[in-house]
């Protein structure tokens, strides 16, 4: 295909040269060129290899509908699958073709084309079945994935995107003739209007074709300039250019992506795309139409393109891809291409129309006759032939004779479709137009208006009345625009979906989906095999499942299917159009919600101290908690945890418990409310005392636990687990509002207002005395499970005597701002007593030695308090509390429920592991009856061996018996089932 440059226009200036590289070769284009137009200018025909058969492919269209010309932009983080027909070039751009090896010209994969008779629909499903399941994952899939596909995923992702929200009355999508006219009516009205166009220049068909000769007696170009100026000057209209609406959601919610670097290289660190989230009162769709192609043998050869695309290259880019293209059409839409060619001093090599001479528009007839263009009416192209480019075509004329025509370019037009993608995303319904042979919008489901060719108005005669009628719900100016056209006004089409090949051959291919290499033969085969529903057929053949979503071909497939099934197209229906309209990158969707902003990190007030003192953190919900502290870089986690645990048992340890949820409950009826929310009874509890409490779901399962401090009957402070804080508060609020609105009670989260330090160990009392000299910490004055308010250096603090380690312990609650100072003070006075910080892992070990559960680790939403052996915590005399009735359900009183027990290896040197199954027999004979599993497991420095907590069937009655713990990796280990307490069973240390 030899292209020539035409005249300069407002979009392309021939003195602004730009160099770029395609597959390593340097080429020149002009400012304003897309990759496709620049490549055509350089007479390059071959731009890619097809998905499955690796067939040579060229540029088929001039817009977003492009199925073939997908390229990888090396100079932009290696962005794959970029449409060459919309991406603008810039100086130094580097582009690579896709899906070829070792080179585009000599592609090894093209051997697939030879074997193509076996690669029919469902080939992979049928072929790669055996001999073993593993073959698919380890052999077939990697091989197929290497051979098939599009671009390579980029390794690096640096594109930044911003999100912008809009709230407007009217959004006009598409800035072509109808979009501009709609916007014109809204000029200086009281509506907030957003006008969105995908291209850099508004104008659509005015820029892309020679269809219109005069608008309001002005040159279209001049009218356009004036109109855009008027719209830009109007204060109520905002224009978004280079912005593609990809998604149309419920309640007129639109998503659009704006390219911020059109025609220039994105600057690293700068925002290169903006995602617009638009909520609009009305949406006016003026997004135009898309031309269809036609199926015949080798309709994928480089050098074949859509006729309107050819015209767009001429009008928009000052470029004729070929000096003498052949035109093949079944409709009147390609008339203007003939007009444009002749106007540019070129001549079609032949004009082939499937319509009869009477149907062809008289003015086209005249034009063709006057210029001696060979005309074939009632004729069809049987096939195109050539090596890696089109060289000749075979035409069957009205007499049935075959004519061979040599050519380097073929322009196709199979009719036009309204671009209904967004309309159907909005849940609007389509209807088949038997005359225009296309689906057109019929019933909108939302406040959606369609104008122009997007609504199926392919003629311009009702332009004014249509817009005025559809916009009459708005108080806007009436339009009266006069249009004059260069070509015919009436759209006319004859049914033609496919031309069968001249010779029957296994290798003859008529494509129906260029991007996914689906042939019309595949469609026939799928229907023969019973996939005759359009949604099934689509998935079985992968028709219209590429990144182009079959924009130029999906309606053709429906036509072929309806003929094969002898059904009306409306009965066949269409597949669902789903967002996005065109691919948008994940980085655009993610926006700024990535890396450190993906999920907020919550840090305790002591976080900086932890950082300085060797803390290794673990994530607990959004919180960063010290997992363990390394005294030097070589200390392993195991050693650190053992050291920390031992130190708590022998001296004293301090844990930053600030992340524990804290909820303050106040109000006249606070006591009654607490009695209803938790299992425990708080009525007889003394003021100033605390209690370990359980919260259940209505199904009777343990949901959360914590310590409740009773300040008075009207005032409680509850702690929750770190991860459960929000849920517990939410649950309290829900029941206070929905079930017991008569109770006067209020609750509020005070988690972040207070830091919490847990100090425990035999030497704790000494440390506390020294740190807070004015407080009496004696057992009589400050007994276990009581709390006191004090002031320390002017800071109000609350001290609770409680422990999660089994040692004597205190929890100190301090306003967050004053916490670091007091923490430092405790560290320095504690030094002489061997006080050391410990992390969550040591805390878990220590509590497990005491058999204290962790909700979410030892419970999993299927464990009741009775299963845990915590029946004593249930206020049986209470009439009601959350989940009470469920504790006597038939399921919760079953005897073989999983219950909490302790596990120790029978041979003390054996190891156990979390998640191991507990089974009864040493010999494994499947199916093995499973009793339950280990929920927590540690090596205890105090006991000198492994120990574990487990939930096993009927566990309580199995205490004292033997069983086995098993994993496939570790084999079976003999274990003893014991009480879930391994240390200080009498709680002597706790209350000392």
């Amino acid at each position: 295909m030899k292209s020539i440059n035409l005249k300069e226009n407002q979009f392309i200036q021939f003195h602004q040269k730009i160099s770029f590289k395609f597959d390593g070769v340097k080429y020149f284009g002009y400012k304003g060129d897309t990759i496709a137009s620049a490549i055509l200018r350089n007479n390059v025909n071959l731009v890619g290899r097809s998905f499955k058969y690796h067939r040579p492919r060229g540029i088929y269209t001039c817009g977003i509908e492009e199925p073939n010309a997908l390229v990888q932009i090396i100079s932009e983080y290696s962005e794959p699958n970029t449409r060459a027909t919309i991406k603008k070039i810039y100086e130094g751009m580097e582009i690579e073709s896709q899906n070829r090896w070792p080179s585009l010209e000599n592609d090894f994969g093209s051997i697939n084309n030879l074997f193509s008779p076996i690669f029919t629909a469902g080939f992979y499903y049928k072929t790669f079945m055996g001999p073993h399941k593993k073959f698919w994952k380890n052999l077939y899939e990697p091989l197929i994935r290497r051979a098939a596909g599009l671009g390579k995923p980029p390794k690096d992702f640096k594109g930044i995107s911003n999100h912008i929200h809009h709230n407007v009355d009217v959004t006009i999508i598409g800035g072509g003739l109808n979009g501009l006219l709609a916007a014109k009516s809204f000029i200086n009205s009281n509506y907030d209007v957003l006008l969105i166009d995908f291209e850099e220049q508004l104008g659509g068909i005015i820029n892309n074709s020679n269809k219109i000769s005069l608008i309001d007696n002005k040159e279209p170009k001049d009218w356009l300039k004036e109109t855009i100026q008027e719209i830009e000057d109007s204060k109520n209209i905002k224009i978004l250019k280079n912005t593609l609406v990809t998604t149309y959601n419920y309640i007129n919610h639109l998503i659009a992506i704006e390219d911020r670097f059109v025609g220039s290289k994105p600057i690293e660190g700068k925002v290169n795309s903006t995602l617009h989230k638009i909520r609009t009162g009305h949406t006016i769709l003026c997004n135009g139409h898309i031309e269809r192609f036609l199926s015949f043998q080798n309709n994928d050869l480089p050098g074949i393109m859509l006729s309107s695309s050819f015209e767009k290259y001429m009008c928009r880019y000052g470029l004729a891809p070929s000096k003498e293209p052949v035109i093949f059409s079944n409709n009147s839409n390609s008339n203007s291409l003939v007009y444009s060619l002749i106007k540019a001093g070129l001549k079609p090599k032949a004009y082939i129309d499937s319509r009869s001479g009477e149907e062809i528009e008289p003015n086209l007839f005249d034009l063709i006759r006057k210029n001696d263009v060979p005309l074939y009416t009632n004729s069809q192209i049987k096939g195109a032939f050539g090596n890696k480019k089109i060289e000749k075509i075979l035409v069957e004329d009205s007499s049935g004779a075959l004519n061979e025509i040599k050519c380097d370019c073929l322009c196709l037009s199979g009719g036009i479709n309204p671009d209904v993608h967004l309309f159907t995303q909005s849940k609007g319904l389509l209807d088949w137009d038997e005359k225009d042979l296309t689906y057109k919008p019929s019933k909108p489901f939302q406040p959606t208006i369609t104008l122009g060719s997007a609504s199926g108005q392919f003629n311009f005669d009702n332009l004014n009345s249509d817009i005025n009628e559809k916009l009459k719900t708005f108080k806007v100016k009436k339009l009266d625009v006069k249009l004059e056209l260069n070509t015919n006004a009436k759209y006319n089409i004859e049914k033609l979906w496919e031309v069968s090949p001249q010779k029957k051959s296994l290798w003859a291919k008529s494509f129906i989906d260029l991007q996914n290499d689906v042939t019309t033969k595949d469609i026939r085969q799928a229907i023969t095999e019973g996939f005759d529903r359009i949604e099934h057929l689509k998935r079985y053949t992968t028709n219209s499942m590429g990144t182009d979503q079959g924009k130029i071909s999906s309606i053709n497939a429906l036509g072929i299917v309806s003929d094969l099934l002898d059904k009306k197209v409306n009965e066949v229906g269409t597949t669902i159009y789903r967002p996005p309209y065109a691919p948008l990158s994940f980085s655009a969707i993610a926006g700024r919600n990535c890396y450190e902003f993906y999920d907020p990190e919550r840090k305790s007030p002591i976080h900086n101290w932890h950082l300085k003192n060797g803390a290794i953190f673990e994530d607990v919900g959004q919180w960063k908690r010290p997992w363990y502290f390394q005294i030097n870089k070589d200390e392993s986690m195991h050693d650190a945890v053992q050291r920390e645990s031992k130190n708590v048992r022998e001296n004293a340890g301090i844990l930053d418990g600030s992340t524990l949820g804290k909820i303050e409950i106040k109000g006249e009826d606070a006591l009654e409310f607490m009695n209803l929310i938790y299992t425990n009874s708080f009525t007889k509890m003394k003021q100033g005392s605390a209690r370990y409490a359980l919260m259940l779901g209505e199904d009777g399962m343990v949901k959360d636990d914590g310590i409740i401090c009773k300040i008075s009957d009207q005032h409680f402070i509850a702690t929750t687990t770190t991860g459960g804080a929000a849920t517990v508060l939410g649950c309290m609020e829900e029941y206070a509002q929905t079930e017991w609105p008569n109770l006067k009670v209020f609750m509020n989260s005070i988690t972040e207002q207070y830091a919490t330090f847990n100090i425990s160990g035999p030497k704790t009392r000494e440390i506390m005395k020294k740190a807070f000299p004015n407080i009496n910490f004696s057992n009589e004055e400050f007994p276990f499970m009581t709390f006191q308010f004090h002031e320390f250096n002017g800071v109000p603090i609350r001290i609770l005597r409680a422990s999660f380690t089994g040692e004597l312990g205190y929890e100190i609650y301090i306003p967050s701002n004053s916490a670091p100072k007091i923490w430092d003070n405790i560290q320095s006075v504690g030094k002489e007593f061997g006080l050391a910080p410990y992390g969550t892992e040591a805390m878990h070990l220590l509590r497990a030695e005491k058999g204290y559960i962790i909700v979410g680790q030892d419970t999993d939403g299927s464990i009741t308090p009775i299963d845990l052996g915590l029946s004593w915590m249930i206020g049986k005399s209470k009439k009601d509390f959350l989940g009470k009735r469920s504790l006597t359900r038939s399921d919760t009183i079953r005897e073989d429920r999983k219950q909490l027990v302790g596990i120790i290896p029978s041979n003390k040197t054996d190891k156990l592991e979390e998640g191991q199954h507990i089974i009864l027999d040493k010999e494994i004979k499947s199916p093995v009856p499973m009793l339950g599993h280990i929920t927590s497991c540690y090596y205890s420095p105090t006991l000198g061996h492994d120990f574990a907590l487990a939930v096993i069937k009927n566990g309580h009655s199995m205490i004292g018996t033997k069983a086995y713990a098993s994993t496939s990796s570790m084999g079976t280990t003999g274990v003893d089932i014991v009480k879930p307490v391994f240390y200080d069973e009498g709680n002597k240390r706790l209350v000392s």
Partner: protein, 116 residues
């Protein structure tokens, strides 16, 4: 994304709210004897109709108030929102029982693009 009209704050984006399942499910009075079946139905059984549905929502990232609404589950249209202490609206007040984009059948997803 839906817009939900919080009875306390006004229309807000769906992302501010959380769904609370079927509305007007009464919690049995715990002070009285409750049969296994009655309690089981309260805890586990909820309606899941295609069409109009009384539903609870909470304005989690807003006023944190619970409220009720009538939503058409086949179209996601929220027909009315009302406070917890307001009477539940009669479903007959709303025009259609199953109004779907394409007048689809009463069961099934019925994602059609062409009128059936």
């Amino acid at each position: 994304m839906l817009i939900i009209n919080c009875p306390y704050c006004g229309p807000r984006d769906q992302s501010e709210f959380s769904n609370g399942g079927e509305a007007h499910v009464k919690r049995p009075d715990g002070s009285k004897e409750i049969g296994d079946r009655e309690w089981g139905e309260y805890v586990f059984i909820r309606a899941n109709p295609k069409g109009l549905f009384y539903e609870r929502w909470v304005h989690t990232h807003g006023c944190r108030k619970w409220f009720n609404c009538v939503r058409d589950t086949s179209t996601d249209e929220i027909l009315v929102t009302y406070k917890l202490d307001e009477k539940k609206p009669n479903l007959n007040n709303f025009k259609s029982v199953v109004k779907t984009p394409s007048g689809e059948p009463e069961v099934g997803s019925g994602n059609f693009t062409v009128e059936k």
